[in-house]
Amino acid sequence: MGKTVDVASEKKPPVKRKDSQGIIALFLKNVRKDKIALFGAVLLIFFIMVGIFADFIAPYEIRDRHYNEEGKIRRLEPPSAEHWFGTTDVGRDVFSQVVLGTRTALMVGLLAALLVTFVGSTVGIISGYFGGTVDAVLMRIVDFFYAIPFIPFVIVLSAVLNPSMWNIILAVSMLSWRTVARLVRSQVLSIAKRPFIKAAKVAGAGHTRIMLKYILPNVIPLILLEMAFMVNFAIMAEASIAFLGFGDPNAASWGQILHINFVTGNSRNAWWWMGPPGIAIVLLLLSIFFLARALEEVVDPRLRRR
């Protein structure tokens, strides 16, 4: 008897239930330790602030056309004191558009990521816990979604549905949950084999209780990490779709700014118009990647990224 106990404890360290409090504390500790993660945190807070107070920060209405003293439209003017990022081909203020675009990017990123991680981890936990036929069926569905090319599908879906922010969130979510489902499933597979799950079963805990109280807390760090990557993925996807011209024409978004810049043929001269939205995307995504580094250490110091 003593032998079996020894083998178990030797191979797998006793599972320490990390409740959400512990994860956050560990995460914050990592952020303080890692300068790059700290930089990411500061940058992300900056973007969130800009997103929340966008209406106050943006000096002009995004659709307003601006005229100079002689009453002429300020076409393609380089940055000046009045227009920090210059003007577009029809005299609109680029700075205001970029500021308002922050809100769209954050909204799409956060909502899509929430939806994706919720669906993905539900499927992953159920699939990994029950195994057998349930697992086989769910994993075939995941395989199906892996066989669909992402950008072409989102383009087609945005063309079928009316172009709006919600439909972009839907389109992005429909194809992204598969990644989370697969990763969570493989983690759950190894957790479900551990002794404490068996103990819970013997003690008479129901399936729902085991999944929620015993399995979920152990995959939460992984889920949070995946959520961070999904935020980035969704922001990039939204920008790409809007750039191709399938975005919401009424919302100011970074992809939309670049789309108009590109189709009006100004991408080769108006650097002040094309640069800022791109730099904003890079910085926002980087800040989340940097923050995710601190989270990654919580999940598994050797975790491999795709």
């Binding site: 066989a147 950008i151 079928v160 980035n232 080769r268 995504l285």
Partner: protein, 323 residues
């Protein structure tokens, strides 16, 4: 092994049927009248009616679907509304451009990624290592279309080093494969788009190689090699890197699959006459047959690459066996 491959191919074909069904009904749900894009609006309604009849747009969805599936088995995607030519021919014409761009991007990403990743693992904990990680993350965070636009701005518009658009200088036409793709002119056009795509992909091989190397470097036989007094370079590239390559190779096949879809943006920015750009145009023009055909083709390529990844894995790593 053969049995496993046969089973996987069968599953793949079934999946392809499902994807085709999905895409067929998705396109039929699209708002707007398809004939509006084939027939000039100034033509009388009778002409439009005739056109709809000829393309079978008046049949019920079910009839259209059965015809579509029957044709699909024979790899016949119908005629493009816009070009008025068989979709299969159009796909055949666009495919080489897409594949060439994709493989040159992969070569760039893998050359830098594999050697850079190995070297980063060797120098772990140093400033250079974190600089390398940051560098690859910056390019992973930058939208490819934006990087492409910036490159065009700097290297084409300002410095005039490289052409910004298309596959060849206008006026040049070639008939054979060699005449089209094996020219200096083509190479010049290829450089910018493949660098942009390569930079975006680089994070994958670089980071996987680094992680995999870190794991290998802690193995006993590396210590042994060091203890024997072998040169640092020999240990790094001959003993460690070879074994660390495995996950990088398999990730590569998987990545090619997903890269095909993502390349759409680069093709649009550089007016690269490939499958991805064609699909965007076809969707905007409501050219169902062409969009469907291109979509199914890309999807099939992705599935095929996934299969290749799994087989490569089994071939390269004898510890893994498939039943």
């Amino acid at each position: 092994m053969l049995k496993y491959i046969a089973k996987r191919v069968a599953i793949m074909l079934a999946m392809l049927m499902l994807v085709s069904t999905m895409i067929f009904f998705l396109f039929r749900a699209m708002p707007g009248d398809a004939t509006a894009f084939i027939v000039d609006p100034s033509m009388p309604p009778e002409a439009r009616e005739l056109m709809a009849e000829r393309y079978g747009l008046n049949d019920s969805k079910w009839v259209q679907y059965t015809i579509f599936m029957k044709d699909l088995v024979r790899l016949d995607f119908g005629n493009s509304f816009f070009y008025g030519r068989p979709v299969t021919d159009l796909i055949k014409e666009r495919m080489p451009a897409t594949l060439i761009l994709m493989f040159s991007a992969m070569i760039i990403a893998y050359l830098i990624g594999v050697f850079g990743g190995a070297w980063m693992a060797w120098k772990r904990g140093s400033k250079l290592e974190s600089a390398g990680v940051t560098f690859s993350l910056i390019f992973r965070s930058a939208p490819t279309f934006w990087v492409g636009l910036m490159m065009i701005l700097v290297f084409s518009a300002r410095l005039r080093w490289f052409p910004a658009q298309g596959m060849r200088t206008s006026g040049y036409s070639g008939d054979t494969f060699a005449e089209i793709f094996l020219t200096l002119d083509f190479l010049k056009h290829l450089i910018l788009p493949s660098i942009v795509a390569g930079l975006y992909f680089i994070a994958t091989p670089l980071l996987i190689m680094r992680n995999s190397m870190l794991e290998v470097l802690s193995e006993d036989y590396i210590e042994m090699a060091n203890a024997k007094g072998l040169k640092e370079k020999t240990v790094l590239y001959k003993h460690a890197a070879r074994n660390a390559l495995l996950p990088v190779v398999t990730a590569g096949a998987l990545f090619i699959g997903s890269a095909i879809g993502g390349q759409v943006l680069i093709e649009v920015v550089f007016s690269w006459p490939g499958l991805g750009r064609e699909i965007v145009q076809a969707v905007t023009r409501h050219d169902y047959p062409l969009a469907q055909g291109a979509f199914i083709m890309i999807s099939a390529l992705m599935m095929f690459m996934n299969l290749v990844a799994d087989i490569l894995y089994a071939v390269l790593d004898p510890r893994i066996s498939y039943k």
